[in-house]
Amino acid sequence: MAHKKKILLVDDSRTVLLMHQLLLADRGYELLTARDGEEALEKALATRPDLIFLDVLMPGMDGFETCQALRAHETTRDVPIIMVTTSGEPQNIQRGFDSGCTDYITKPFNDNELLDKLERYLQQ
């Protein structure tokens, strides 16, 4: 059997993390979480996840800085990063792409959209 795909969920809100975890539970993924940019970077470099969901607004390093840092490392250079922005903030989407993210979803996320994007990037 192929190894379980690892997904790193990054958000400073534990309720948002819980929502992600509940949605993705029992789908055959290994789920990792991080509460801020520093922790995300550390975990990503240690485990090389197959995909990262990255929140924008976090204490310390924000999502953009974390994304740039991830792109700067050999290990995580090509990992798909999906930026999680809050709806109605188009300027963040542009900044997200500028900092190197692969795609974005907006909060409140549509479960199907999230799962579609997840499967698409994991297959690539």
Partner: protein, 524 residues
């Protein structure tokens, strides 16, 4: 509601409580020292809350928070100035948010008129007054689940110890079936050690820092001083000191009461302070530290201090020998239930109405409160409470077939009842090294029947200044006792504070020492 939704809602409830608490503390900190970093973290809190409200489809809540977030953004982008009025409005917005969260959790929609008005005020550059919360009746707080966040490491240690205990129990069963008594003793000893360790770990899980409890008073201080045109700052010391989570609940009211008293009656107006040669801004210090088995919290102010002359007058009015009373004895008078009018109490004690209420609250936590001070210099109120309410070091005594437990910290000594008092009934007064010691018979207090033993013992109990003896049949000695609250349907009989499971599996009553002492002193 699906299980998933329920889990998410529980997490949301906890997280918003924390976020709003942080936003409130942040706003107060920002007002004192306007730093962008603090503003940024307040903004982040509002933003997270908005995201959660959107995800959970709490429309009114997300609409309201969206308005608040806009104001915070305008401050960050320096499009607006963070005036004192604006901070006040934002604090009021946090209150409204609490109401809106509770309403959302209760399934109610709509933004109350007061909250709506506040949004308008927040949007207007010329700002008006404060909108009181609750004018339209903030809904009853939604279903409350008491939760506690626990360090996973602590839980891991508990899981490990539980595993080891299970192994020890298995071994004990084996040894009891085929091993020697010596082996059984040694395995039992090992299990005993693990059990004590487990007990200690579980106790530690319940411990939380007092910081959040202290910080709740920042807001009260700010409002009280503003309302009375006084100036003071609140200094918090020992915020990391830990205490059982149940005690935090019990200390909230007494602390708030003491802070209010200090501002109302302790601290002087800026003019009066300057006249007295003090800095015009006063200082109030909340300080927490540990003593063995106890949490000590001190509330100190540098205000006018107790007025001993007035206290002496009061002592005289009570028929006491006021001239011979020490400073400590006078200070103790502050805790007597008030005189006929509030005005008079304020005048006399300098500490306002209700120090007896504070004392009752602290005694309900099996604690003590004392006051000391210096006239013109300030007052310090000291609260001492046990670190946990879940268990006590108890001292067990027997009367007839019954066993009762006394908190060990209130047991001062034990002696034999003099032979001339044997067989008598009722209480009386003993001579304890030249001092009168009133005593009560536990047998009579609880109507225990059965023959009286040939020898009876007296347990000398002390609490604060009071001291009295309790006559019992047997002294069983000290031990660690886990407390069980008595059923709510079965109210505490007088003199009883709870119950505990005895070693033989029966229930023993835990005695309430302050009320026993009062009874003994009343009979004297």
């Amino acid at each position: 509601m699906t299980i998933d939704r329920e889990l998410i809602i529980d997490s949301f409830r906890d997280e918003t409580e924390e976020l709003l608490g942080d936003m409130e503390a942040g706003l107060l900190a920002f007002e004192a020292h306007p730093r962008e970093e603090v503003l940024r973290s307040i903004f982040r809190g509002a933003h997270t809350l908005k995201g959660l409200a959107l995800s959970l489809q709490f429309a009114s809540l997300s609409d309201f928070i969206h308005g608040v977030e806009d104001v915070l953004a305008s401050l960050l982008e320096r499009r607006r100035l963070a005036t004192g009025e604006l901070v006040t409005l934002l604090l009021s917005a946090v209150d409204h948010l609490r109401g809106l969260v509770a309403a959302a959790l209760a399934g109610e929609e709509g933004i109350p008129a007061g909250a709506r008005r506040l949004l308008e005020q927040l949007g207007t550059p010329g700002l008006g007054g404060l909108v009181p919360v609750g004018a339209e009746g903030v809904p009853e707080e939604a279903r409350r689940v008491r939760t506690l966040r626990v360090d996973v490491e602590k839980l891991d240690r508990i899981a490990t110890l539980t595993g080891e205990l299970t192994i020890a129990r298995g071994r004990l069963t084996q040894v009891l079936a085929k091993g020697s008594a010596q082996q059984a003793r040694s395995v039992h000893q090992e299990a005993e050690r693990l059990h004590l360790e487990l007990q200690e770990e579980v106790r530690r899980v319940r411990m939380v820092p007092v910081g959040p409890l202290f910080r709740q008073n920042l807001r009260a201080m700010r409002e009280l001083t503003a309302a009375q045109r006084k100036r003071a700052r609140l200094v918090l010391e020992g915020e990391d000191v830990e205490v059982d989570t149940a005690l935090v609940e019990g200390l909230r009211e007494p602390l708030l009461h003491l802070v209010r008293n200090a501002v109302d009656h302790g601290l002087e107006t800026p003019e009066a302070r300057r006249e007295a040669g003090k800095e015009s801004s006063g200082m109030l210090v909340l300080h927490a530290f540990h003593e063995p088995g106890m949490l000590v919290v001190q509330v100190s102010d540098d205000g006018r201090g107790p007025r001993y002359g007035r206290l002496r007058e009061r002592a005289r009015a009570l028929g006491r020998d006021a001239e011979r009373m020490t400073k400590e004895e006078l200070e103790e008078l502050v805790f007597l239930p008030g005189l006929s009018t509030a005005e008079k109490v304020t005048e006399v004690s300098g500490r306002g109405l209700g120090m007896d209420v504070v004392r009752r609250g602290v005694e309900a936590l099996r604690g003590m409160v004392t006051l000391s001070g210096e006239e013109g210099k300030g007052t310090t109120v000291t609260l001492r409470v046990p670190l946990t309410l879940a268990s006590i070091q108890g001292f067990a005594v027997g009367v007839g077939d019954e066993t009762y437990v006394l908190p060990l910290e209130s047991v001062q000594e034990c002696l034999e009842l003099p032979t001339d008092r044997h067989g008598q009934s009722g209480g009386g007064v003993l001579n304890l090294r030249g001092e009168p010691l009133p005593y009560l018979r536990l047998r009579e207090l609880f109507g225990v029947g059965g023959p009286r033993p040939a020898r009876e013992s007296v347990v000398v109990l002390g609490h604060g200044e009071n001291q009295a003896g309790l006559v019992v049949d047997e002294l069983y000695g000290k031990g660690h006792r886990v407390l069980k609250p008595l059923d709510r349907l079965f109210p505490h009989p007088p003199g009883v504070s709870g119950s505990t499971l005895l070693d033989d599996g029966r229930v023993g009553l835990v005695l309430d020492v302050p009320s026993l002492l009062k009874e003994a002193l009343r009979l004297r």
